[in-house]
Structures are given as C-alpha cells and as structure tokens.
C-alpha cells in the first residue's frame, strides 16, 4: 500500500507576494473627529509606517494560507502515533461550543457578576478534574504541561518554605521528559537523575539511596515514557512522605488511566494534566495547550490565584483570598478556551466513556505491540499501557536507522511516531495510537511498517533516502542552525528567485 502524492502547489512567503497598494482590511469610517497624534506626542515617538509589512488582498491571504495548510500532516487525515503526545481526535463539537460569542467574546477582567457562565465552566471543570484525579484541589491557570510542572514545583517549594525547610534537590528518572529537569531548574533546584532498572521502571534501590533530607520531591511520569506503569508508586510516595518530601506526577500519559486508578490513591501530592492530550483539545500546530495542576490537601493552600469558587448563594466568583498562594503563574485565568473545550469533551464522554477511552487506548497500543514485536526490537518487555517503545536495533545492521523508518512512514500516509525518545532507548520509536484509531487503521499501520521493514532488508536505499512523496525531501537541519536565517528580509537585489536566495543564505 502506498499513497499517491498530494497536490503540492508552490507558494512563496507572504512578503514576496506583497504589492504596494494592495489591502485586505475594511473598517467603518471614523465617526469622531480625527485627532492628530502630533498634538499629543513628540514627532520622535511617531512612526510613519511599518517597514516591509505585507500589502496583499484578502484572496491573496486565503490562497496563501490554504496552500501552506496543504503541506501539513494532521490528525483528521491520518494516524499520528506520536508517543506521549496523545494525538487523538479533536471533536468538532468542542470547536462549535467555543465559538458561541457569549463564551469566547468575554473580557477576562469583566466583573464576576457579568461572567457567571464562564466562571461556572471553570468551577465545574475544577471539580471534575478533582474527581478524575482523586486530588483535593485544582488550578486551571497553567498554559501548558511544562507550565504546570513549573507551577507544581513552585508549590513544592512553597510547602517546604512554609515549614522553614530549604531543600536543594529534585529527583527525576532518566526516562523523564526534558521539561521535568528544566522546570525543576527554573524553580531553583538541582536535579539528581535516577536510573531505570531492567524492567524500565524507576530503580527502587537507587531511589532509596538518593532520598535524603535535602530532597524536595521526585518527579515521576506514570505510566512512564516507556508506557510502563510504575507499580511501586504508593511505596515510593510513602518513602518520600517519611522524609517530608513530595511526589510530583507528570500526567502527560494520563490517557492510560482514567477510571482505573487515581493519583490521589497513589499518594501523589501534585501533578499536571495536559488538556491537549488526554482531554482532546486540539494541538494547534504547537499550542495552545493547557496544563492544569491538581494537588493533595497539604499543598492546597499554595495553589495559584485566583481560583474559580462557588459562593453560599450559588453564584460563582474568583477567589483571591488565599494568603499562602504562590501567586500568579500567568495573567488572567489561563487558557480558558481549552477549559471550555475540555469540559465539553468530558460531558460528552461521561465517567464510563472516559474509562472506555483509557481501555481502548491501552488495547490499541498492545495490539500494535503484538503485531510489530519480532519485526522490531522491543527493549523492555513489561506490560505496555497506552504506548510501546521499540528500537531500530535489528535494522541498523542494514544501515537503516529510526530516522529513516520515520521518514519512510510518511510515504505510506502515516505520521511517524516519536523518535529517539526516551533517551534510555537508543534509536527509540515510541508509538501511541490512542483510542481514536479503529482496527482497519491499526492494521494499515502494521502493513505499512511490515512493508518498510521488508524494504529495509531488500532495498534499504529507498528507506534511507525517504521521504519521496512529500513537498520537500529531507531538510538540512545543521545548515539551519549554523547559517541562521530566522526571518525574511528584503533582498538587496530584487531579481533573485527564492531558491537562489535560500542558497545564498540571505
């Protein structure tokens, strides 16, 4: 099975389309007397025009961005099995409910009495996320997963500060996502890496050795980035608590667990959820996401302000009266558009639906594992949850690497999996099908992988030079980093083609 190449119409940069005198906007005529800025401001403060800003028509814009869009792979066209990214279907209903003007055209600072509907959305989502996680309190303010991590670690810091303890270290397994150590570092901690054991789980003995009175918390992803459940998490939590240290759970992989178990029961003190993973809000080509944090009772006083609250009289308000709060991590209330969509999704699913989602996500991942093991090396053989991690060990003998397999998948109409992560698996291929894919899609993916792996044996050249059907072939990333061109500038000579300009590196 091989897909036909899609239509690839060439398109220049919008700046190269610009023609002086063209315009795409319309404004009503000014209905008050025109004021002269020079009456209020000295001339040095005024600018005549924004140099090189595009001058294009409305249809130029529509053509331009529509053409660009056709060069993107996206979840609506095919399977996007990026491990730990949970590329599931983004229901159209959620886009529609967000666009109700009474929801999306509200100002963040309008009085609570004029925003009761939106405050209720936030309050109800907080309550529901408490139920799903089994945690005591939730803040919706963080704008993304890594932002939630930072928020959580700052709360851990505030907790120890409130007990007059200045702890220095955060423990992080070597399989963790890179945001974990980066977030801990921004909060002012030193990071101690904990190795994984032969099972792909945190090495329990190494963890015990590293745990001392100067440890603030452990950041654990569960299921971890190998798709394996950290089954000793409760013991880990108890040991941390004996030292008055905390357990942070990275909830990036929460899609595996809904309705089966809850971080509250695991002994987790603080965690974040990615609404753009588990709760179906669209990834938008790299955001916006949302990374709510959930906390245990002992960390609740430190949640960011404000929280959405329900008053005795049944009305809703923003609660700023939280004296031990770490403060704000973002202006206003966070990515409210994602909160509304996530609530719409959860209500569409209901409690039983969420559990079926996790059940199906785990079943799909295990099915792919079953069909592909033997063809690809499986470095860790413990039970997989929502994702499975293979390596390119069997293929490298023929000179075919993970990157090549990934690029060749594009020619078969699939987005590649996450590659070269987690770092503890050399040549990793991390596959997460999510619950959205049906059996036909899963089988088609398996067939594509089988064909590619056969090619790797018989005709490796076609694999190592892939992709062959995309708009562009492999891109020179080294050149991009060395001869940096990070913006368009008007070329001194106008007669160069874009291709020549690119070659010249200007």
């Amino acid at each position: 099975m091989r897909t036909d190449p899609i239509v690839n119409i060439r398109e220049s940069l919008i700046f190269e389309r610009s023609t002086p005198g063209k315009t795409a906007y319309s404004l009503p005529p000014l209905d008050v007397p025109a004021a002269d800025p020079r009456s209020a401001l000295e001339p040095a403060l005024l600018r005549d025009e924004i140099d090189d800003f595009p001058e294009v028509s409305e249809f130029d814009i529509v053509r331009h961005f529509t053409r660009l869009s056709t060069w993107n792979y996206h979840i609506d066209i095919g399977m996007y099995p990026l491990g730990s990214c949970t590329m599931k279907y983004n229901p159209k209903l959620n886009e529609k409910l967000w666009r109700i003007p009474g929801i999306s055209a509200c100002h963040p600072l309008q009085d609570d009495s004029l925003a009761q509907g939106n405050l209720q959305i936030q309050f109800e989502l907080q309550q529901i996320l408490r139920e799903i996680t089994g945690m005591a309190g939730v803040s919706l303010q963080p704008a993304a997963g890594a932002h939630g991590e930072l928020t959580g670690i700052l709360m851990a810091r505030a907790y120890h500060n409130s007990r007059n303890q200045r702890r220095k270290f955060v423990l992080i397994p070597d399989s963790a996502h890179g945001t974990n150590p980066a977030s801990a570092a921004i909060a002012g901690y030193q990071v101690r890496s904990i190795p994984s054991n032969a099972d792909g789980r945190v090495d329990f003995d190494k963890f015990r050795e590293a745990l001392h009175d100067d440890v603030a918390c452990l950041m654990l992803t569960n299921p971890n980035t190998l798709g394996i459940f950290e089954r000793r998490i409760r013991e880990i939590a108890d040991l941390l608590h004996e030292k008055d240290a905390l357990l942070y759970m990275d909830g990036a992989n929460f899609n595996a667990l809904m309705g089966y178990t809850r971080p509250g029961e695991m002994g987790v003190d603080v965690m974040h959820l990615n609404l753009h993973k588990t709760f179906s809000t669209p990834h938008g080509g790299g955001g916006p996401g949302a990374g709510p944090v959930a906390v245990s009772r002992r960390l609740e006083p430190f949640l960011p302000v404000p929280l959405a609250a329900k008053k005795q009289d049944g009305t809703y308000c923003l609660d700023f009266n939280r004296p031990q709060s770490i403060g704000r991590v973002r202006a206003f209330m966070g990515n409210f558009g994602m909160h509304a969509r996530a609530l719409g999704y959860i209500l569409s699913c209901g409690g039983a639906g969420l559990k079926e989602i996790s059940e199906t996500a785990v079943l799909n991942a295990n099915y792919l594992r079953h069909r592909l093991q033997g063809l690809l090396d499986l470095p860790y053989r413990q039970d997989s949850f929502h994702e499975v991690v293979f390596s390119d060990k069997l293929q490298t003998k023929k000179g075919v690497k993970t990157l090549d397999l990934a690029k060749r998948l594009m020619d078969f109409g699939f987005h590649p999996p996450t590659i070269y992560f987690p770092l503890i698996v050399p040549g990793a291929l991390m596959i997460e099908p999510t619950e959205s894919e049906g059996l036909q899609e899963l089988d088609a993916f398996v067939e594509a992988m089988q064909s590619i792996l056969r090619e790797a044996e018989e005709n490796p050249e076609i694999v190592v030079t892939a992709p062959h059907t995309t708009k562009l072939r492999r891109l020179d990333e080294t050149r991009a980093a060395r001869q940096t061109v990070l913006r368009w500038r008007r070329a001194p000579e106008q007669d160069k083609t874009p291709r020549e300009a690119a070659r010249a590196g200007d």
Binding site: F15, P33, V56, G287, G337, E356, Q382
Partner: protein
C-alpha cells in the same frame, strides 16, 4: 458504543484473541489492587451533542460579551476588529489538529507560517529576531528577565510600577526563589515611569530596566531616555507591549533602543476569550538569538536545494539540554500566533496605520468629552487608546450603573493602586461607536456631578 471510539465489541474480542488475552482487564494488571478505583467516576454524562450545546448556550446567556455589549475595558486585553478570514483559515484541520512541527517534511505549512510570524513580529517591534511565541505577555516578560539574567550574569532589576500588575505578579512568582533584587519605580505626576529615580537606582550590577509601552495607565514612556539609562550601566532595556495596535502609530521599541521586546499578541486578531488562549511574542537583537527561550523556526534547504523551514537552535531547549535549557517551555501558542499573523497580513501596512489612528482618535474624543463634562483626565493627553479618568464615586459602583445599561465600564485602578480610589482606566477602541462613547460619557459625568 461511544461515538468518539472506533472499535466494536467484536473487534475488541478479535484483538484480544490475537494477543492471547482473555479481557482488557488483564492489560491493566500492573496496577496494584490497593490503588485501583473500585467505583465508577462520578461525572455527569454522557451527553448528546444537542445537550452539550444547550448547556453551553445556557451558560453563555449568563455572560456579558463583546458581540452584544459595549466595552470600555482594556487593561491588557483589547476588544478589536477580528477579520473573518482568520477563523475561516485557522479552522482548517491542517492547522488546528497538527502537532508541533517535529517532522519538517510533513509540517511545512506550520513552519513557514511561524517563519512569517517571526518576521512580522520583528517588523512590528523593530528588532532583528523573534521566536515562535510564548504562552502570553506575562510569561513572556518573565522569560525576558530570565534571559537578561543569563546573558548579563546580573541579578538586579529595575521594574516600572506601570508594568501591568498581573505581569509583575507573574515575574514575582517565577523569581521568588532566586536571589534577585527587583526595585520598583514609582510614577511621575504625568503618569509615566519615574526615570529620574531609575537613574539613582541603577548600578553596574543591574541586568535590566523594564518598562511597558504604552504603560498600564496608557501613558507613552520615553523609551530613548530609558535606553540611554540602561546603556550607561551595561544593562538591557526590556520593553513590554500589552497593546500592540499602538505600534501602528508609535515608533518601534527596537528603533528607540530596546534590547528585548516582549508582549501580548491578543490585540492582533485573537478574540478576548475570557483571558486565553493568547500568544506571547518575544523579539531581540541578532547577537542575542542563541539566548532566546522557546521554539524558533529557521530557513534551510532540502536534499534537492529547495527552500524549506525547520525548528532550529534546538540546543537551547529542554529536550536536548534538560536542566541546562534556556527555558522549560515546550508547547507554545502556535495557532494563536497564526491568528495574529493572518491579522497582520490582513491589516497590512496601511491597515495597521489606519486602525491605530482610529483608536487614537476615538480615545481622545472620549477624553475630550469627559473633560468637557467635568471629569478630570488625570494624566493629560500623552496616551494611545487608554487613559485614567476620575469617576466621582467608587468605580465598582459606577460600573454597576453602566452594566445596568448594558455597558462594561473601565478598570478599577484601586484594585492594584490603593491610592487611586475613584479612578478608572478607560479603553476606547475602533469597536466603540460614537453613540456608545457619548452614552458612556453621559453616565460617567452624571456620577461625577452627583459627587
């Protein structure tokens, strides 16, 4: 079977059989008994589409919103014209259901549009390089300060008290555990940052001087003077912009000497959205590009020499550098950045100028009318589209009166500046008609006279 799922019971059985498993429960065997949830999640639903939409429409009916109501409220979020093409284009699944462009061969649409966004932000702010966006204006400012500390190796900051209070709050949360010293600059009687005070506070240990442009009270700061002060001490000038429409009229921060310009892109085509999602922008000088936080797209060529775009300078980032990264950011605000790109292209050179002029004219008209009727414009006319007016009564009370007429009044400054009792920060944009402005003025001046 639930509508977002694609496996029938029979298919599930067939898959389990192929795997030699009896039930899906076996797949969850690694979860110890003592932490299992032994009841159903207590969550309403499942609801049908009709029910979900009905629920949200009922909630919407309990909000004031900018499609139906007149707004004179800005303070960091602005009600502006949003061209229809924006939603039409960003509603293409190719844009909104794609992931971060890690695989450039199948993400050139996202990558090229980000490259264009970076260019537009450079042009707007007058600086050399920009990143692919950050969460919002407040977090972008925090990242700017972290970058100043990194590149200068200094931990003293001089911050204007007229930087948005919520931006300052975020900076304070981010930096509380660092051994930084942040001095706050008072304001002058003209509603501008007290730069004379900055001169005495700044030393050769100062990393950056930080101002907002226009400032939180609407005043337009003297950036050239601020830049000269910063230069004298080898410090950076960091400029925050919460209302980028002003840059259609005002000289760019880069041209006036800013080293880093950060801001909030919301005014550029992103709906008010009750506070988010928005997009933070970040631009700086070329020599500082390798210190920038966040994703950056660069131009390159493919194996055939065709121009293409990739995520670049990744060695700054968390997935490579882990705890040594320049920032922990991973997800940015791609789709919102795209919205603002389409906005800037739609307005173009002429539109940005015209839009800025309309804002300026309408806000100055409102100020003139208020003054004629006896309200005091506290800091004169050195503003763009926001200004401070005396209200004659507590602002909350006046806003309740305005709400009764379907109008959302201005920002109550006593929330952040206790000495500013009875002072309202009024925002007037191109969206406010003359009729709305006149009605607003009438209600506000009646309150002033009554007092």
């Amino acid at each position: 079977m639930f509508r977002y799922l694609s496996l029938t019971e029979q298919e599930k059985q067939r898959m389990l059989q192929a795997m030699g498993r009896g039930s899906t429960d076996e797949l969850f065997a690694a979860i110890p008994e003592n932490i299992r949830l032994k009841r159903n999640l207590d969550i309403p639903g499942p609801l049908s589409e009709t029910e979900v939409l009905r629920f949200f429409k009922e909630l919407a009916a309990r909000n004031f919103h900018a499609d139906d109501n007149a707004y004179f409220l800005g303070a960091g979020a602005y009600h502006h014209f949003v061209p229809v093409v924006i939603d039409a284009l960003i509603s293409r699944a190719e844009f909104f259901t794609a992931y971060t462009p890690y695989q450039p061969e199948v993400a050139q649409g996202t990558l090229q549009s980000i490259f264009e966004f970076q260019t537009l932000i450079c042009q707007l702010t007058g600086l050399d390089v920009a990143n692919a966006s950050l969460y919002d204006g407040s977090t972008a400012l925090a990242e700017a300060l972290l970058m100043a500390e990194r590149t200068r190796g200094r931990r003293h900051f001089v911050l204007s008290s007229l930087v948005h209070p919520q931006y300052r709050a975020v900076v304070s949360t981010y930096t509380r555990n660092m051994e930084w010293k942040i001095d706050l600059l008072a304001r002058t009687s003209q509603g501008l940052t007290h730069l004379d005070a900055a001169a005495s506070l700044m030393t050769d240990s100062t990393a950056a001087l930080v101002v907002q442009y226009p400032n939180f009270l609407g005043g337009i700061e003297d950036l050239s003077r601020a830049a000269a002060l910063a230069r004298r001490h080898g410090a950076m000038l960091v400029v925050a912009v919460a209302e980028p429409i002003a840059l259609g009229l005002l000289q760019s921060p880069g041209a006036l000497g800013a080293d880093i310009c950060v801001g909030e892109a919301q005014a550029l085509g992103i709906p008010l959205s009750y506070g988010g999602p928005y997009a933070g922008f970040f631009s700086t000088r070329d020599d500082l590009k390798r210190h920038m936080p966040g994703r950056i797209v660069g131009q390159t060529v493919d194996a055939d020499g065709q121009r293409g775009f990739v995520l670049t300078l990744a060695t700054r980032e968390q997935h490579i550098r882990r705890e040594k990264a320049t920032s922990n950011i991973c997800t940015n605000e791609g789709l919102c950045a795209l919205m603002s790109s389409i906005f800037m292209c739609t307005l173009g050179k002429d539109g940005m100028k015209e839009l800025a002029k309309q804002n300026f004219s309408k806000a100055h008209y409102a100020a003139d009318q208020l003054e004629r009727r006896g309200n005091k414009i506290v800091y004169g006319r050195r503003f763009f589209n926001e200004f401070v007016v005396t209200a004659g009564a507590p602002v909350a009370r006046i806003n309740a009166r305005l709400a009764a007429e379907g109008i959302v009044g201005g920002y109550d400054l006593s929330r952040d500046y206790p000495e500013m009792a009875n002072q309202m920060l009024v925002c007037v944009t191109e969206q406010n008609t003359r009729q709305e402005i006149d009605r607003f003025v009438q209600i506000l001046s009646a309150a002033e006279t009554a007092a």
